[in-house]
Amino acid sequence: MVDYLYDGTFEGFLTCVYYHYYGEKASGIYRKEDYQASLLSGCRSIVTEEKKASRVYEAIEKKISGEDLRRIYRVFLSSDEEKENKLLRYIRLGFQEGSGISLLHSNPIVFEVQRCEYKVNIETHRIKGLARFTALRNSSPRENGNEILYCSIEPDHDILEIIANHFADRLKNDPFIIHDKTRNKAVFAQGGSWYISGFTDKDLPLFGEGEREYRDLWKKYFDTIAIRERINPSCQKRFMPVRYWKNLTEFR
């Protein structure tokens, strides 16, 4: 039994799963930078190998199901500290049970993974609504006059790539940046296609024309639409947790 350490990529994680089956059994899988050595078991650093990763990838798709592969990936994006171990247990059970694994709602292994997945899904859906874009002046001479939409979010889970498609389709005529402040990376999108890269908001251009006015209009609308006789802050906070408020135009 040995702890496997990987580089934080999904492929790296799958390589660890490969070694669990074809090498020494894993007592746990951890990210290299988060690992705290323990006396009970040794650890081994794993170099990501694409071939081995893709074998596991295909095996999951074939022997469990495509939906479970997607589920495993979504759980991998969560910020749960034990996600690798939860997933390893899930994959092991999945190879025994096959595609029926997702029906075992009360099995503790399945329950843990489905709860993680639920959290990721719910945040994905929330951020689709709670992302707020700001129109910025585009200073590059090639795109004279066009504005860039900029949005900063601080999600609990690493959901940037899940929401990218949604916004890339919706705003295909507007170039935009969605900046994940906690992870210092961003989606850059234009004309329906997008990529993810590292990003810091040091030198953001100035507000575009009319941005201030539209912010004021939105705030006015937000305040006006509430019915005074029905004010219910706890209900509001239940749907829209306060940790998201700092990036919302209506509260700034």
Partner: protein
């Protein structure tokens, strides 16, 4: 000329009592220049009253020729008036949409000049959005009663969802409070929308209500006579369900030109008129069955005028009642209940302390306890604490292995409610007795704890003086005047 900011304030203020803000019912990728729509709908914010903001909910104008008693924008009301220009509103919608503030537009209006005039202005704004801006987001258009069929049809081709407000649950209340709005003017556009959707084979009913039924034949669409003779108010319902059968659905329409793909909805005000909950639930059931509405919304009446016909301005809006009515509405749409099951002649009002599903279960306690591992999906849905998601999970999982009591929580069942009504593998975990009174007391006690109140029991009511009396053992049996004062139930549940 007011600035856009002032107009927005006035016209959003006038629109805020409109309930619907959902952006669901139609999934569409971006086929124009900007905008798509998600089938499940997306909420973008929640205002201070806890209602979601999904659409830019706004009036086109609040200059009204009508004088409905319950309305903030009635002709005689002393409020600031404003109107948008179609261009101005379209631009505002697009700029809000780009910044992801909103999911689309919900355009309603007061009746300026005439229904047709107003509807044409609404149409020109929506057309501008769809055609000039290439807007693919969600549009919900309110249909003004009395609008001509041609304009309605055009609006339907542009918008995703249409709604005609029924305003009040019965014809009598409508005649009393909104004498200028005639039932037949309300039902004619509803009928036209349903008919068009039927012809195009596009009809989508409410939730799972039409499960195992052909949605196109369930409930005959009543053809309202021009004089409105067919409108019976027999059982509090506005619509006579025995009409002529539907026209045969037409075949072979191009999919491009879709008419109101997210269907139609309606809303009614509750608490402004004396109807019972039973009448309200019956009316909404009829609306679902007759017009295949996607939703019937309720809006708790908030006093806006001093009219002698209405509750006084100091009446609190009946929020708890509205909540219970929505729960009943969910039972109608997703749980296979009928209005008569939820409320019968003997109990015309919903219990404000207990939700309607528990009330039903307590009235029909002979059907319980149900064995989780045996009963059908339809029966599972009738167990308080079991929802549609958990019922489906139970059905899926029990194919593989029997479900134990401890599994229920992980499946998503609300065990504290369900335990009184179920057995797991033959074992009952509810408590000593399956008597309705006992269960009701347990439920209410749980509710008190949830609301951070101690369960109130007159016999053990704490008092500053009691412990001392007991300690000395001399005055224990003497009636204590202070205890009697404080021992009354002063805190109400819920």
């Amino acid at each position: 000329m007011e600035s856009t900011l002032e107009k927005l304030k006035i016209l959003a203020d006038g629109a805020k009592y409109d309930v619907s803000c959902s952006s669901s019912g139609v999934g569409r990728r971006n086929t124009g220049k900007i905008g798509s729509s998600a089938a499940a709908g997306i909420c973008h914010s929640w205002s201070a009253d806890g209602r979601c903001i999904s659409l830019l909910k706004i009036l086109f104008t609040n200059k009204c020729v009508y004088d409905c008693e319950y309305c903030v924008n009635r002709r005689t009301a002393d409020v600031a008036r404003a109107s948008f220009e179609p261009k101005e509103l379209a631009r505002l919608t697009i700029e809000f949409y780009r910044r992801n503030y909103i999911e689309g537009l919900f355009l309603s209006s007061a009746v300026e000049v005439s229904p047709d005039y107003t509807a044409e202005r609404i149409m020109s704004c929506i057309r501008l959005l769809r055609n000039e801006y290439g807007f693919g987001g969600y549009i919900h258009a309110k249909i003004i009663p009395g609008v001509s069929p041609e304009i309605l049809h055009q609006i339907g081709l542009l918008a995703d969802r249409l709604s005609v407000n029924i305003e009040l649950p019965t014809k009598e209340s409508l005649n009393l409070l909104a004498p200028q709005k005639k039932p037949k003017n309300i039902f004619a556009p509803m009928k036209q929308i349903t008919q068009t959707l039927t012809e195009r084979k596009q009809l989508k009913g409410a939730g799972t209500m039409f499960k195992n039924q052909d949605i196109y034949s369930a409930g005959n669409l009543s053809y309202l006579e021009p004089e409105g003779e067919n409108i019976s108010t027999g059982d509090g319902s506005l619509v006579d369900l025995t009409g002529r059968p539907l026209a045969a659905p037409e075949k072979g329409r191009s999919r491009k030109e879709r008419f109101a793909p997210a269907g139609q909805t309606t809303q009614m005000i509750i608490g402004a008129s004396p109807e019972s909950d039973r009448q309200i639930v019956k009316t909404s059931e009829n609306l679902y069955r007759t017009f295949k509405m996607k939703r019937v919304y309720f809006s708790a009446y908030i006093p806006v005028s001093n009219s002698p016909l209405l509750p006084t301005p100091f009446t609190a809006p009946p929020l708890a009642r509205e909540h219970r009515l929505y729960q009943a509405d969910w039972l109608l749409r997703f749980y296979g209940f009928t209005a008569d099951e939820i409320l019968d002649e003997k109990t015309p009002f919903l219990d404000l302390e207990l939700d309607p599903k528990i009330s039903w279960a307590l009235r029909n306690i002979d059907k319980f306890p149900m064995e989780i591992n045996k009963v059908s999906l339809d029966e599972l849905l009738r167990i308080p604490g079991v929802g549609t998601t958990s019922a489906l999970r139970i059905v899926r999982q029990r194919r593989l292995s029997a479900i134990q009591f401890d599994d229920l929580k992980k499946i998503g069942v609300v065990v504290k409610r369900a335990r009184y009504f179920i057995t797991c593998c033959g074992k009952y975990c509810g408590g000593p007795d399956i008597a309705p009174d006992y269960i009701k007391n347990e439920m209410l006690a749980a509710e008190c704890i949830r609301n951070r109140l101690l369960p109130i029991d007159d016999n053990v009511q704490l008092s500053m003086f009691n412990p001392v009396a007991n300690q000395w053992g001399t005055v224990a049996n003497r009636p204590d005047p202070i205890r009697n004062l404080h021992g009354q139930r002063t805190v109400s549940h819920g």
